[in-house]
Symmetry: C2
Subunit: 398 residues, 2 copies
């Protein structure tokens, strides 16, 4: 398989004149999603109504789409299922993981984890009421803190602010050697870089589909459970569609077979139609090609921005192997600077307190886009919007 | 406001020749949803991309739609929010309710509750590990079991199999007198009959929007929390969008203001576009008119079916005040009989072990439809598909 990104770029609708460097937050519209949705609504919902659950395959779709998506994270078919939001999937995975390590009380995570992962863990700890501790360390200190009291190592592989990438294989190995399980959040990994949950021996993984996978705002999340755990995995959110026989309407919950037990309620059929169209594009690319192109784009961007904008400080790892598919710079007036970039049609985003974040998505961003973005950023940063000495915003921009 | 159901019927796409008596399971497609979705995808997702979260109002939509929907269940604006699935909303509401009654351990429910409510409660009880008991009684025995050890009375107002309707006001009053809180599942109530959560003093309520509200397969659920509880209500599923300041990306969870705290993760924007179109239709009707029309249709149906099909036994309350907007009949070979009805374009559904269930939705079902349905059911039941003595299926139909 060879990936021709000039061809994949044509498959997306991008707003005229916009350089979209925020596909790591919300991917753009795959053109085919429009007709796919229209068909789902008019021909399936409209014509089949209730019978669509079987005739249109809606009921089976969370697993079918999980199978289609699995290769992007190194999972074999049968081990990934779609549904809910990433927050809910974190809760499910963490609850199941803690249950598998009943004699330990520490959840180790880092301050670069996305806050909702941490919030959901806090909520779960309160619910359990068994004295679990959420231990939050700096990203670079994780390896040294994988001690033998850790129940679960819960990390987001790629830091949402800096793009710093953990060594998933090494940390998973270290966790296992310490007797802990791992829960990897792949929100900024799936579709951004090659992931191999099976090869790394990851125990649980979760992620979303609206960032690099381009499935649209509010697209469902996914969950992976290692085959060695799934049969002993107890669903905390024991919804009817995770039941062994949902349509028997028994009053006792019995977990379903394999990954099906991680389903909860009625799946979001319309969102899944968009996801289905988005995954068609991924069928045509090789993740190694995506990674090579991503590194080329990020290297080009870093070199160009650093040359033109000495007032910006690289917040991402300089070594391409150490980062995901985004580049972040620190700048005290980053919020205003990003607003100015957006006003000039270069869309990235800002993360408090001072991070200007740019995502690089080879499926629709190419070297010419990067050149354009560098030129705009250079213009924004040097055209006297800032005081030359302090780099504080001048009144004019506020 | 007067409701002209001949007009509302034109607003739905119904499959040619089909009499659709399953809107209590999945409502049909509102025609306007197609253009609404196309606009959401092409003009908002496509053109605004990430900026749609603010510019298109996506981030505020769970509350805005909650406000639009609130009147259907008797809630004032600000007390209902959309998101997730009904299973998740049951879990949230029950966890919050139990937390408000810390000295009691009994969750009282009935065997007519939808199984996922019961499953989610079972899962929650295991998570809490504090000896809570799920006490399941027969629907008609609920009132006698509201004892002073009950923490939460958790009921679905209208039984999904029989259509039997609980007296929400009386049971809520009884629960409060016994020192218990109430959690009402309105899956078969919202859009089916007038509901008054505020007037009844209900503490928590949840429901779905893909049945009578016609928002499409996988449409989001809703949750209501009584204003007197919301400030002391602790979200168990403490996701980032329920945080006081989601975009501050703090590492500590602080619940948001009011009902916002019951949000969890990223809202399903595409599903919400369909819901928005579905709610437009509800803006034009009066629930008292809907209820009057619903009762007329169900009375017509019961009389017609009973006259033509003596082998069917009414499973729904005969008194219209005692049922929701569905009618169920028991028949030993109900599964095969319903398949035969569906083959003849009268769509209802079957619920094990022997329930043939028909939903009556005045927005798009009228008296002529009911006559057609009666004729088809009579034909199915009497045209020798069944052995005349035993009413067992003959080989030909299997």
């Amino acid at each position: 398989m060879t990936s021709d990104f000039a061809e994949t770029k044509k498959l997306f609708h991008l707003p005229e004149g916009v350089t979209y460097l925020d596909g790591n937050s919300l991917g753009p519209l795959p053109k085919a999603a429009l007709a796919r949705m229209e068909r789902c609504m008019a021909q399936k919902w409209g014509e089949m109504v209730i019978t669509g659950w079987n005739r249109a395959g809606w009921m089976a779709q969370p697993s079918a789409l999980g199978d289609r998506l699995g290769w992007l994270i190194g999972a074999q078919p049968g081990h990934v299922v779609l549904g809910d939001t990433l927050s809910i999937k974190v809760y499910q995975a963490l609850a199941a993981a803690l249950d598998l390590v009943p004699d330990r009380r520490v959840i180790l995570t880092d301050s670069g984890n996305f806050p909702t992962d941490i919030y959901m863990a806090e909520g779960l700890i309160k619910m359990l009421g068994r004295g679990h501790e959420l231990r939050v360390v700096a990203p670079e200190d994780v390896a040294d803190n994988v001690t033998d009291d850790v129940a679960v190592l819960m990390l987001t592989e790629v830091d949402y602010r800096t793009g710093r990438k953990h060594d998933m294989a090494a940390l998973t190995k270290a966790a296992h050697e310490a007797g802990a399980l791992t829960l990897w959040d792949l929100a900024h990994s799936a579709g951004a870089l090659p992931v191999d949950v099976a090869g790394c021996g990851a125990d649980f993984a979760v992620g979303c589909t609206y960032k690099y996978l381009n499935a649209g705002p509010g697209a469902p999340a996914f969950i992976y459970v290692a085959p060695r755990h799934i049969d002993s995995c107890k669903p905390a959110l024991s919804g009817w569609l995770g039941h062994e026989a949902p349509f028997a309407f028994d009053l006792d919950y019995r977990p379903g077979t394999g990954i099906e037990r991680m389903r909860v309620g009625t799946p979001p059929v319309l969102q899944m139609a968009a996801l289905d169209a988005a995954l068609d594009i991924w069928d045509e690319v090789d993740m190694q090609d995506v990674r090579r192109a991503s590194i080329a784009l990020t290297e080009q961007f870093i070199a160009g921005v650093e040359a033109a904008c000495p007032m910006l400080t690289l917040a991402s790892p300089r070594d391409a192997d150490g980062r995901g598919s985004q580049v972040s710079f620190r700048f005290a007036e980053g919020y205003a600077a990003m607003q100015a970039c957006i006003a000039r049609n270069v869309i990235g985003d800002f993360r408090a307190p001072d991070i200007m974040r740019f995502g690089f998505t080879p499926l629709f961003i190419d070297a010419a886009d990067v050149d354009k973005a560098i030129a705009v950023i250079a213009d924004v940063m040097t055209n006297r919007l800032w005081d030359d000495q302090t780099y504080k915003t001048k009144a004019a921009v506020t």
